[in-house]
Assembly symmetry: D3
Homo-oligomer: 162 residues x 6
């Protein structure tokens, strides 16, 4: 019978952050959700009205709760305490723009928490409106800004990928 030590470099592993400093960190992510006219017509100036309830409020809550599940969903993410998760939504011209900002005081960044929060909010918006538009599309899920780690990112004129 053969013997093999499975080589770590080919195997999944968490980054060891034992030696990193605890610093305040923040990250902001964005997701856009495109809806059709039938959905857009439900906009009452504040929220989208749906048979399942208020869409943006539900999406915001789901996104906040989803951000707290990040380390359970993304296999190599570190579990960390969160100081804050904020989500807001702007709606214009058939597009909801979801922004999620996560903050921690810890050894590693919260990019994935911000991205997960924005994504779960976008998926929830999809779920609440899919009866009117099954072709709803989520685009431009990306990190907008990150501060507090070794290297900052974004925050000014970052170019969108199309």
């Amino acid at each position: 019978m053969s013997l093999s030590h499975i080589n770590d470099s080919n195997q999944p592993g968490m980054v060891d952050v034992s030696a990193k400093n605890i610093t305040p960190r923040a990250a902001t992510a964005e997701a856009l959700v495109h809806v059709n006219e039938a959905v857009a017509a439900q906009f009452d100036g504040t929220d989208l009205v749906s048979k399942k309830g208020p869409v943006f409020q539900t999406a915001i809550l789901a996104g906040i709760m989803g951000a707290k599940q990040t380390s359970n969903l993304i296999p190599l993410c570190h579990p960390l305490p969160l100081d804050s998760v904020k989500i807001d939504i702007t709606f214009t011209d058939h597009t909801a723009t979801i922004r999620c900002t996560a903050r921690t005081t810890g050894k590693t960044g919260v990019e994935m928490e911000a991205l997960t929060g924005a994504s779960i909010a976008a998926l929830t918006l999809h779920d609440m409106c899919k009866a009117l538009d099954p072709a709803i599309t989520i685009t431009q899920v990306r990190l907008v800004e990150k501060t507090g780690g070794k290297s900052d990112f974004g925050g000014k004129a970052e170019t969108l990928k199309s």
Copy 2:
């Protein structure tokens, strides 16, 4: 198509605790569970005996595990490490009194952890005894005492609401 920035003041959001100090914090919550004579007759001097097993022991374990789920259950709670969760139960005169104390060393209080622990313990007691009394009622779920934050609460002659 209209445009609207959803106003934060109307939308759910976590309180940002980034700037708060890390201090030792504790909270104690209570729940009462009223049972009928058929259930009370199962009390052996230490625990309620049921077909599903020992009631108070099961309720205590469920409450401790439930307290650890608080930030997954209460949408705007912060996830935080817990130094301790203790639950004890006193039984007298058809009423189980459940007390849950949670402790952390963190930036925000553990009232919801104590209340969630007491509530899940009470619900578990209900589950284990409902075959004998489907009308079991949980009352007086409330915060008894809280220390370590900006303002303390309770600890002496707080009045019960009826």
Copy 3:
């Protein structure tokens, strides 16, 4: 060294529902939440307004999601698919009345799902308003009605325990 088979009758165990029929089942549970004047003054005719967002809407969503966690929280509950969870809240005279109805098509009842949904909604209301009233009290958490199992319960003149 001594030997002992731990007696099942003293140990926790799930009820075996293998042989039970699959039937449509429903249960309704209730919880009352008493708040002080400072909280009640925030009622805008539809919801309680708080710094953390809309209280009843957040509580309803938390309760629905909490009901889906029942078998993870209550140790001896069976995991089962849910056809529906509905929560509504009536507010009058410093008291929010939370009603949660759960439905399944399965082998066992959904009393605990209804009770857990009502309880998590009540705890969420507490969390959102505790800055104004740390003495908020949850009472009368109880099963109101249950149908579809071997024996029905409630639905008419069931007496409140005080």
Copy 4:
């Protein structure tokens, strides 16, 4: 003190599927992930190699596990048994195309399971490669096809939104 019954039509609620038929249902969703040249250069013909391990394999597993969490993440989704979740990834020209197909035999569709699986796989890909490209962008997260419910969707020449 005023009284108000919170109007169900403004409140979040699950759709009641009690009366729906149990049928085999399937849904396929897609997500595209755009990466920069530094990431693309790590493609070995089968997978992207990263310091954290094999990217596509990890993303596929995370997506499968994420699809199973759908009803815990999307507030008004029904928990349901899943017969299968499959994810595959095609990589060409700086773009990973993730396809997730979910199947159930149940009363309601699995669109959200497919969309959640694709999204969590995409987020995991982001997490594993963000050290090389923090600007990774996820786009075109959408339902591709759905069968088995009242109305089918897609499956042929559905137009992409840009």
Copy 5:
């Protein structure tokens, strides 16, 4: 830039059980836990007494709850309703024998539920007694019997591996 369709045969995937019949299924798994004399001396004839509480009772509850988490822990397991999970523990000669039986009425077997239940119970026993014996060893975690699927297993003279 190269193109490659990631070959399914090398990628993780759930088995598709859409076409399988729903049948009653059961599985029993076992785990042995070896403890030192210091732990064994705490046996009171029914349970091991520890500073953290009753060991076997806690282990049984944890195992039942752990069995319900199987599809969240084992990546390619199907989520399924469970009709019953039972765990019992026999203690003799420094060895606790944990047996876990899971039952479902479904399209796929519950071997992993039984094995996960036995394992989590064994780990909990370890946790409760490790202050007295950090060298506690869990062995012989294995499937003992399985019925209700295409092929049955065990149930008579299955040989132990050493």
Copy 6:
């Protein structure tokens, strides 16, 4: 009606770690998995090939994610941030040796995280290969080494229990 305060010493309770120091802590645990010739023949020099996908890679990811669930699975474990979880697998002579090392900077040790990670990896290996060998057996699940707490453990010539 009788009265009794349930004695804490007989009831489950978490150890209170409020007063303990925050120190870097590590623990390593091991599990062996014995497979038959049919499974061993699938070894390609790096991983076991199975119809469900690459066995060791899947087991490693499941173990890492399982380690992060420890405080949700083991009732009296404290939730704590993890700096790192690493798992590697060596395969020789029909036996996979799984080693899991967990690290934290916290008030209490990570023995249970290491043991849970190794156990979930072993169970996943079982799940992926059980079609070829339903008699797969997991043995020697034990703590190998622990550092950073009041007392260290292992790390040299610790004897295996058979």
